[in-house]
């Protein structure tokens, strides 16, 4: 057990370790997990479709009451929403297979284009938030586990619960109030100053990830500007996740500290520091990998709220805009697409977890 837990992640499926299931266990695990994505995505997409379409067509939802009945019927007919639901559903599935998530009603843009334009911004925000979460959550979790039931542990646990209890948008508002309004040291909202944003849009092959684009311009003022805008949103979203990491690391380190191989190491005279760092801490990190996968869903929910709070023009911000405009085709498209992203991320995370920890490959 002990040796397999501490196997470095770089070595996938080493031959000498014979599982009960025989050779190729990892390959089969990956295959099974990959096949499981299909029903998951199918169920999610179907759920969204049925919920949104079975209860009414998007045109009535957007325009109902504003257009005369005959014009409304005409537009519904033109868009094909008066056909049987099953026909619409099959057509929708067919479109999805071609990567077509629909076209928005309010501004006529393909949903995939929205993903490409704004996805980078959300990715950037999620990345910053994860950095904050790791940098804050993991060390603090170790401290809490190490000083278990002492004052630091008590304080940290209450802080972790507080991080969970604070809605990410309220944390955002408070940060804005303190750092942007009262202290006036950080920008209130947006991803960069208008001047910088324009400049970033003009460079060759913009990635949409402002930090990379700003570095490409070679102007350090741009980089600083972009980073300044990122601090508050990253903190708001990151601290929420940091609380989850803290609790997780604490629980896992405590449980590995109580396990047999730690006792064995202690009886061999391994120092307490090394015990904590090597024997208890590293195996405790494995569940973190799995949890990051689950955090993607939480991060996406959080990103919608954080982006709205800070007018960070990413997918979540757009989603909120389309919600306000009652453009439910766009909402359906974005939500379905996010569901696919979550399913794919979970798959990747499961594979990574299997590479790190052979026990996962059942």
């Amino acid at each position: 057990m002990t040796t397999s837990v501490e196997t470095p992640p770089a070595k996938p499926a080493p031959r000498p370790r014979k599982d009960k299931s025989g050779g190729g266990a990892l390959g089969r695990y990956i295959l099974v997990r990959a096949l499981l994505i299909i029903p998951t995505v199918f169920i999610l997409v179907t759920t969204v479709f049925v919920l949104m379409r079975a209860t009414g067509d998007p045109i009535t939802a957007a325009q109902g009451g504003r257009l005369p009945a005959d014009q409304l019927a005409e537009r519904i007919h033109a868009a094909g929403y008066d056909r049987p639901l099953i026909v619409q559903y099959l057509e929708y599935l067919g479109d999805l297979l071609h990567g077509d998530f629909g076209t928005t009603l309010s501004d006529g843009r393909p949903v995939t284009e929205i993903l490409i334009t704004y996805g980078a911004a959300t990715l950037e925000l999620a990345f910053y938030a994860l950095i904050v979460a790791f940098a804050v959550g993991i060390p603090l979790g170790r401290i809490a586990a190490h000083r278990r039931d002492k004052t630091p542990d008590a304080v940290l646990r209450v802080l972790a619960i507080l991080a969970y209890a604070t809605p990410v948008f309220f944390a955002g508002l408070l940060l804005k109030l303190v750092f942007s309004v009262w202290l006036d040291i950080l920008p209130v909202s947006g991803r960069a100053d208008t001047r910088v944003a324009l400049q970033l849009g003009r460079i060759d092959n913009p990635t949409g990830i402002y930090l990379i684009d700003a570095i490409k311009t070679g102007d350090w003022a741009n980089v600083t500007n972009v980073l300044q805008h990122a601090i508050l949103p990253a903190l708001a979203l990151g601290l929420l996740t940091a609380g989850v990491f803290l609790r997780l690391v604490r629980t896992n380190v405590i449980s590995t500290l109580g396990s047999g191989y730690v006792d064995a190491a202690r009886s061999r005279g391994v120092s307490e520091r090394r015990l904590l760092r090597k024997h208890a801490y590293r195996p405790a990190l494995i569940p973190i990998v799995t949890v990051i996968g689950l955090q993607i869903a939480l991060l996406l929910s959080g990103a919608v709220l954080t982006e709205t709070t800070f007018e960070w023009k990413g997918l979540g911000f757009q989603l909120a805009q389309y919600l306000q405009a009652r453009d439910f085709v766009a909402v359906q498209g974005i939500v379905a697409m996010l569901a696919v992203i979550v399913a794919l991320t979970n798959f990747i995370v499961d594979i990574i977890a299997a590479l790190i920890d052979p026990r996962v490959r059942y």
Partner: protein
């Protein structure tokens, strides 16, 4: 009914009530957290209950006599927490908001409890293709970003805008769909385990009906983790409601007060330094969620011997707490399993073990 009198030396009903028994078995920091949580939760309940008495004004009241309150008035003697941009009294909306949150929690948790437990029971007990389908669907829904799912459902149920009761119901039912998979998973896992126990087999041998076995023998033994999930879900329900409100899917301000919606209105205020419209409703959310989470966390820790005492058993527990916070009790299942399986009428054996083990560790 025959089992209860059979085990004669039972403690009084009061001592066996979920929270009371845990309160008795708690010590030190854990007791402090539990009590703090209970106090906060009690304040919330009382505020919700006595909102009409406590609130100085109505939630949609704009004037006293002939005089308008005025917009964005700073806190004063007439308006302790100031007034909003719309000219509402912040304190009054805060107090009435407790009532809205309370209704949403009660409806959401009750509905998801009934549906989730029923599905989990049937699915786990009978197994077969229905079980497999339900598990895949529950897993798919569980991996979905919960806020996005709630948004889709809020659109479907209410079309996005609504009065007091329709708004409360649409928010509550949206949250229900998020919670059902959680109850389903927990109950199903318990049922699958208990189904294999000797006492279930005995019941089947003497010819009990499936229904009777399910309700009398299986369900009664699989509900021990529910109080924990209930409290954690109640806090999650508030956060989801606030998130929906913040994105503009709340309840119309003239129909009822809702904290998330008030925070949505406060985003613009914060940029101009008006802090009271954001800080007070936000603090209300944080305190209520904090209270409920503290209760849930403490119950969880008290029910889990590995968290309750130092150096618990030698088993390496790699998946403990992986799905915090909602699924935190998952680890509890296995630990509790050992003590519960010995007697069919012992759903509170586990917590009883609390004081002895804890004090033994100290």
């Amino acid at each position: 009914m025959t089992t209860a009198p059979a085990t004669a030396p039972r403690r009084s009903l009061w001592a066996r009530l979920p929270i009371v028994s845990q309160l008795r078995s708690s010590v030190g920091l854990q007791r402090g957290m539990l009590i703090a949580g209970l106090v906060l939760a009690a304040i919330f309940l009382l505020t919700a209950l006595f909102a009409p008495v406590l609130a100085p004004y109505g939630f949609a009241q704009l004037r006293e006599g002939d005089e308008l309150f005025g917009a964005t008035q700073p806190p004063s003697a007439e308006h302790l927490f100031g007034t909003t941009v719309g000219g509402y009294d912040v304190l009054s909306r805060l107090i009435w908001g407790a009532r809205t949150a309370f209704f949403v929690i009660v409806i959401a948790v009750t509905a998801s409890l009934v549906v989730g437990v029923l599905l989990g029971l049937v699915s786990g007990y009978f197994g077969g293709w229905l079980d497999r389908v339900l598990v895949v669907v529950a897993d798919a829904l569980y991996s979905f970003p919960s806020l996005l799912l709630a948004i889709v459902l809020a659109i479907v149920i209410s079309g996005g805008q609504s009065g007091m009761w329709s708004g409360i119901f649409s928010a509550a039912l949206s949250i229900t769909v998020i919670f059902v998979p959680q109850y389903f998973r927990v109950i199903r896992a318990e049922v699958v385990r208990i189904k294999a126990e000797a006492f279930v087999e005995s019941a089947r041998v003497i010819g009990s009906s499936h229904w009777r076995i399910m309700v009398r023998h299986v369900l009664r033994n699989s509900t021990r983790t529910l109080p924990l999930i209930l409290t954690l879900n109640a806090s999650e329900a508030i956060l989801t409601l606030a998130g929906l409100g913040f994105l503009g899917f709340g309840i119309d301000p003239t129909a009822a007060a809702e904290w998330g919606y008030d925070l949505n209105r406060a985003v613009a205020d914060v940029a101009s330094g008006i802090w009271w419209t954001a800080v007070f409703p936000g603090a209300a959310i944080v305190l209520v969620v904090l209270g409920l989470t503290l209760v849930g966390e403490s119950l969880n820790d008290l029910a889990d011997p590995r968290l309750r005492k130092r150096a618990a058993g030698a088993e390496p527990v790699e998946d403990l707490g992986v799905e915090l916070p909602a699924d935190a009790p998952a680890g509890d299942d296995e630990a509790a399993a050992a003590s519960s399986t010995t007697a069919s009428s012992g759903p509170d054996d586990g917590p009883d073990a609390g004081p002895t083990t804890k004090e033994g560790a100290l």
